[in-house]
């Protein structure tokens, strides 16, 4: 990769995720997957591993695959173990002279398949040290089954299992900080990113993750217009607001060294991110001001900690 990122040149590479998949219009997931796969060098092959999710059912419905590379889906909770199995096979067959060339192993799973049901499998694979990339596309709920809460769902968000009613006010718990948990695995590379702007952040982090030896983890914010309940044309704006409010800071931890990737010129109030989304609508009702206050103070706290870690 040349050191200067050039989107125009990058998009000239042959595509690896074809159009015609069945993701919803306005879904960020296709953008994320294409963005990650684009970071592969032209001559390198990949095996894409996928957990059961919106992405899985939309991109490999028999008999059509949207992937130009080899692809395997096995179940919801085992994508990291699946990836380690492919990598193990590669090592064994390479040793025995039965495969040639460079093959990279990239897993895509949703937040449900990562923060929740696939967490053990992920932790195990990271600890074992397979040469693989695990990408969580985080849309903050189980979207494929119709918007149920996950441990990634932020506090107060409305989902079908954290509904808003006369007593219930959306999710009670804060979002699990999975990126930090992965940092605690002491793996070579962990990053939090999003398909923002000209995709440079997503691209360079994907490139590092793919071409750093050992297990690497990317947590990618992936808005879902259906589950988050915002007009689908707002995708880029929603992502920008998540980053500028510091709800989703962009950072990386390379060999234990924290680095902030983006410092907002002006840190926006959290309510700017919350307001356009139906899942947070009840937070703006009279009498619920405390919710916005608490959401703000939680983000501020996390942000301060990140600044401390990264020495920014």
């Amino acid at each position: 990769m040349s050191t200067v990122y050039n989107l125009k040149r990058e998009v000239e590479k042959p595509i690896r995720l074809t159009g015609g998949h069945r993701l919803c219009a306005g879904c960020s997931t296709g953008v994320v997957v294409s963005g990650v796969l684009r970071a592969l060098d032209r001559e390198d092959r990949a095996v894409v591993v996928n957990a059961t999710s919106c992405l899985q059912v939309s991109t490999f419905m028999y008999p059509y695959t949207a992937y130009m590379d080899s692809y395997i889906h096995s179940a919801f909770e085992n994508s990291a173990a699946t990836c380690s199995g492919v990598e193990a096979a590669y090592n064994a067959l390479k040793r025995r002279g039965k495969v040639e060339g460079t093959v990279k192993f990239i897993t895509f799973a949703g937040d449900g398949g990562t923060y929740d049901i696939g967490f053990q499998s992920l932790s195990g694979a990271m600890e074992r040290g397979h040469d693989m990339v695990y990408v969580c596309y985080d849309n903050e709920a189980y979207m494929n089954t119709g918007i149920q809460r996950s441990s990634s769902t932020p506090r107060f968000a409305r989902t079908t299992t954290t509904p808003v009613g006369s007593v219930g006010q959306g999710k009670k718990q804060n979002k699990k900080d999975l990126t930090e948990i992965l940092v605690a695995h002491n793996i070579p590379y962990v990053a939090q990113t999003a398909p923002i702007g000209n995709f440079r952040d997503l691209h360079s982090k994907s490139y590092k993750a793919i071409y750093t030896e050992g297990p690497c983890f990317l947590n990618v914010l992936s808005p879902c217009p259906r589950g988050w309940d915002y007009p689908m044309a707002m995708l880029a704006e929603i992502i920008k607001l998540a980053v500028d409010t510091c709800v989703w800071p962009l950072y990386e931890v390379e060999e234990g060294v924290w680095r902030l990737s983006y410092m907002p010129k002006k840190k926006l109030p959290v309510e700017d991110f919350l307001r356009p989304q139906g899942r947070f609508r009840h937070m703006f009702r009279q009498g619920n001001e405390w919710m916005i206050e608490e959401a703000q103070s939680y983000v501020d706290q996390k942000w301060e900690r990140l600044l401390e870690h990264s020495g920014a």
Binding site: R45, V47, V49, Q56, V57, F60, M61, Y62, P63, T65, Y67, M68, D69, S70, Y71, I72, H73, S74, A75, E77, N78, A81, T82, C83, S84, G85, V86, A88, A89, Y90, N91, A92, L93, R95, R96, K98, V99, E100, G101, V103, Q120, S121, S123, G124, A125, E127, R128
Partner: protein, 397 residues
Amino acid sequence: MSSRLSGNEAVAYAMKQINPDVMGAFPITPSTEIPEYFAAYVANGEVNTEYVAVESEHSSMSVCIAAQAAGARAVSATSSCGLALMYELLYVAASCRLPITLACVNRALSGPININHDYSDSMGARDSGWIQIYAENNQEAYDNIIMAMPIGETPSVRLPVMTCMDGFITSHAVENIELLETDAVRKFIGEYNPEHYLLKKENPLAVGPYDVSAYYMEHKVQEAEAMKAAKSRILEVAAEFEKISGRRYGLFEEYRMEDAQLALVLIGSTAGTAKAAIDKLREDGVKAGLVKIRVFRPFPGEELARALAGTKAVAVMDKSEGFSANGGPLFAETCSALYNLKERPYLINIVYGLGGRDVRTEDIEKVFGRLADIAVTGETHPAYTHMGQRSREEETV
């Protein structure tokens, strides 16, 4: 060459001779020794297998599925709760048509937790699409592992194979067995050259689709056909194996069945006890016989019907409870296999040995006593009983 090995060591040794590409490893009694022995082979450079010591059996089966799909030969070993944890993935492995080899060292399922032998683990997986081959002793456990790959990998079959042996009774008992030379094993197994696999350069492959109603049923029918095709393949491989080992295997073993009027149908090491009881009864003029099921999936229904057609009364002995309130799994299979015979023997079901409860020759003789009564009276009630309980009351077996 002769050797004295436990069942676990015999299986591990067979795996060493095979030198698979990938092993998924996780401990659970009584199969733990298999990955332990194998780890030592890896550590000593006796194999160059990629040994993946995972964090659960769920992941060991996931690793095997992925590795096999990637073009490798994958093996694993487990028991009881470990097999249960793999449950979802057993179906994935079979439906992706991946000829993985799994050594199942049978142990009772929790709960309550129990580490001893019965078949509740593998019987729970009987409808997952895996070929299941059961061993009576260490020799068979060794031989079955060596036959697994030539059976599973053949293009008309392409199904995973579970070779089962009795926990502790077989896995931990040391017996004299005959081992093949490693070269002979390698030659028998051959190279694994699948037509399609993930790491194939020329032709990328996608595995594990979302399969809609318009296609799913065809895929399941293909899987069912593969299981049917497995029956003749198992016999073919057995014939080839006999040439290199001198040991003969079928779908089941018939013991003194030529003129038997009273017969048992059962699985595994209990066959040894039953054979001893039968020899004794034969001396007293009782026409007793045994069918020891070796291959449970595919189930040899037609062959079993033929073998039992001439008998008067049969006891099917299940070493696992099915909670169907209608008898154990082997009983259900045997009943349905015999149903279309014009003249069928009387059939009863005896569930025994759960969680490692012992069974002795006297118990087997008692069962034959009941069969003798049934042959005369035709009275099969109660047709489904449990043998060997602590109750002080006289048991009907």
